[in-house]
């Protein structure tokens, strides 16, 4: 039982972090907070993948003398691409927020819906 908890606790904490980010996205109306919540979600997904690829008594996957076991490099490659794509979407999202503010005068979701419905 104790080994089961020791072997799985960080997956559970990562799931809790994912849900925290998800909750911020769907329940708060401020657009900047939504982008922050989305980024929390993304980072916790990366943590999940890197935890899957970790090997006990392993080291960074750079071949050097004296090391036998290496961590899984495939997960690292996947997450590197994902981090860069994440920053690209964040930058575009923030640029859209700036334009929304100029067009509607507010970045709260309720005000934007009000202005859209009253057209």
């Amino acid at each position: 039982m104790m080994e089961f908890v020791l072997g799985h606790y960080n997956y559970w904490i990562v799931v809790v972090l994912m849900m925290a980010g998800f909750y911020t996205v769907i329940s708060r109306g401020n657009l900047i907070k939504k982008i922050a919540g989305l980024n929390i979600f993304q980072v916790s997904v990366f943590l999940l993948y890197i935890s899957i690829g970790n090997v006990r008594d392993g080291t960074t996957p750079i071949i050097a003398q004296g090391f036998q076991h290496y961590s899984n490099p495939l997960t690292h490659v996947l997450i590197l691409t994902a981090i860069v794509v994440g920053v690209a979407t964040t930058a575009l999202g923030l640029a859209l927020i700036v334009r929304i503010k100029e067009a509607y005068g507010s970045i709260e979701e309720e005000d934007i819906h009000l202005q859209d419905n009253s057209l």
Partner: protein, 186 residues
Amino acid sequence: MIDLLIIITLLAFLLVTAIAIIRIHSLFAIVMLFGIFSLLSAGLFVVMDAADVAFTEAAVGAGISTVLMLGTLALTRQHEEKHNGKHRPILPLLVVLVTGAALIYGTLDIPAFGDPDAPAQQHVVPRYLDKAVDETGVPNIVTAVLASYRGFDTLGEVTVIFTAGIGVFLLLAGRRTRHSEKENAS
């Protein structure tokens, strides 16, 4: 043993920061907490032996993302999230609890953390670890896989970054349109 303690402490700090981001209303504090979150996760990546990933996450998450969010705050000039006291988010809480329970039920079957015989470490990975230095001459396996074995994915990634740069340039670097000029005049 010391690894375990460090991981538990960093994860606890991450949880506290995430909950603070949900509850705090000042947008400037949220952006700063977001930078702290990125840096803590970069520290966690280092403890889990992912040096390249930690490098990228620290530079990109705690660097570029925080700077861009501060720039957005400066351009939209809003400092507080608007909140009325009678906010009762029952439905989002329910959705989050159901999704979280389903995900935790899914993680019960995952092999233990750090298991060298897990399915994720079989099939292709031993071949890359054995043959990469002979076939490409590059000791850093992550760079070898990223640039040589999986070069197409990196091509797509560079194109995505390029497209995002063009998109932001088109959205923000032009002159303000007649729309807002009319509003400013009236």
